[in-house]
Amino acid sequence: MKLNTCLAALIALMPAAALSDEIWVSNEKSDTISVIDVDTLEVVKEYEVGERPRGILFSSDFRYLYICASDSDAVQVLDVEAGKIIHDLPSGEDPEQFALHPNGKLLYIANEDDAVTTVVDTETHHVIAQINVGVEPEGMAVSPDGKTTITTSETTNMAHWIDTETNTIYANTLVDARPRHAEFTTDGSKLWVSSEIGGTVAIFNTSDQSQIAKIAFEITGVHPDKVQPVGVELNADNSLAYVALGPSNHVAVVDTATYEVLDYVLVGRRVWHMAFSPDGTKLFTTNGVSGDVSVIDLATNKAIKSIKVGRFPWGAVARPTN
């Protein structure tokens, strides 16, 4: 009797104990997804996926993970519960990054080799539209109100503003060389675009597409050529922005009110993208060349640990489990 009660108590406790938030990371060269436990900071799972996985994101209910398998020319859908790929979505050639519409239904995919942005319905698995954009499109973002989609093209050096109702470009803005990532503020009033070769991040006013500010970076002891901004993430209240600076091996912390760089945090080699822990206290960075994920404590802006993952980690996304 007593034993039974104990067992029952244990069973009741177990799922609660097992649940902790996770960070999912795509490994470009080992064709895998690594799952990091946010509490223990250890890799707890690894999934084999298609070739050269880069951009990853979750469905709005976190039941499915969408994966840009660039060299498989597909967007794969991984069932999180079952832990396996359930089907591929048509994606056009060489998908690199994508963004999910707030309605949770439409995926906007940048096809790097084809100079198009493909719109795919995740329910019917059909391509709804293909929009011609500049050469080598990469960065993708959908505005929080769902009305605008941004594609940045690496070679044309432009951010293309696409009307999601008509699927046509309504504005183009020039940015510095090789724009790689775009990010809207939570209220949708501003857009951040990073330029890898230009070494800058530009901030635009979304109502008239005018440029508000441009941020340059300078790290003591690092050659300016190595400062190559890629990933950009804004914290929950949008007071701070974090910019991954590629082969300079640093992440810049930017004050979004003054656009001043407050700090540079040393992480691993060639930092690509980042994801916040769901509680907003830590930032996880994917370090391509060193093959690990650095964890930054956001209270002190210091890297506290680097976790070995697969080869050439690229994309990162958080999965809250509570």
Binding site: G221, N249, L266, V267, G268, R269, S290, S294, V295, K302, A303, I304, K305, S306
Partner: protein
């Protein structure tokens, strides 16, 4: 006990009264930290070695080595003062005290280890101001490690002072003991770097007791215990102390140096 107290107070007073010495002891590691540290940023390369869990700046890497350097210089200075005491005759006073000789030498060791630890605390506080920071637990764990390293290097100094007959010979100690010990250790560059670039030197580094002093301090700063380093430091402390006891034994003088 009175003897211990007297020696410690004497050493502390000497430390406090010689402001230049205190300043010099502080400036030396700071120069390394900020000038050498800035110039040799690339020396570390990019890799993660225990006890570190992520990538670190070169300045952060050399902090434990510089703490050990403070202790090393202080220990040598203390042994220099032994030679001085012997030349000036105050040694005779000490040695005629009605306590065992080993107790006097041990008191001398404890006093110099205490002074070194104090200097390190000030050094780390300055580093902290310049954003080279560890966790509080690390600073706490560091204190016993510093003390132990102080004892080891102090014992080594005692042993050397037993061998040196004249004050002038101390320059030789600088050349043949302090510099090789410091440079042939993991204080300024990690062992793997040495193994890659100069395997012969790396072989020496592995046998240098100072390497283990540095590593003991390094691991303690990150709240970890490195058992091999601890063992080495303890063995060397006991070894050097026994040798210096032998050296200070007037019946079997280690060298031709005359006590008193």
């Amino acid at each position: 006990m009175t003897c211990l107290k007297a020696i410690i107070i004497r050493e502390l007073l000497r430390f406090l009264h010689q402001r230049e010495r205190f300043l010099a002891a502080l400036v030396r590691p700071l120069v390394w930290l900020f000038i050498f540290g800035a110039g040799f940023r690339a020396a570390l390369g990019l890799s993660i070695i225990p006890p570190y869990e992520t990538y670190i700046r070169y300045e952060t890497y050399i902090v434990p080595g510089l703490c050990a350097m403070i202790v090393l210089f202080n220990a040598m200075q203390s042994s220099l003062s032994m030679v001085y005491d012997r030349e000036m005759g105050s040694m005779r006073l000490l040695l005629t005290a009605p306590v065992p000789r080993w107790w006097i030498l041990l008191a001398k060791l404890l006093a110099s280890a205490l002074v070194s630890a104090l200097q390190c605390v000030v050094f780390l506080a300055i580093a902290w101001v310049f954003d080279i920071r560890m966790q509080w637990g690390g600073y706490l764990a560091l204190l016993p490690a510093l003390f132990l390293v102080g004892l080891m290097l102090g014992a080594m100094g005692l042993f050397l002072s037993a061998m040196i007959s004249r004050l002038q010979n101390f320059a030789g100690v600088m050349n043949f003991v302090i510099f090789p010990m410091f440079f042939l250790s993991t204080a300024l560059y990690p062992l793997w770097r040495m193994q890659e670039n100069a395997p012969h030197i790396a072989a020496v580094v592995v046998w240098n007791p100072f390497t283990y002093a540095v590593e003991l301090i390094r691991f303690a700063l990150y709240q970890r215990l490195e058992p091999v380093a601890l063992l080495w430091v303890c063995v060397c402390t006991i070894g050097f102390f026994s040798l210096s006891l032998f050296g200070y034994d007037p019946k079997k003088p280690f060298s031709k140096a005359k006590v008193g």
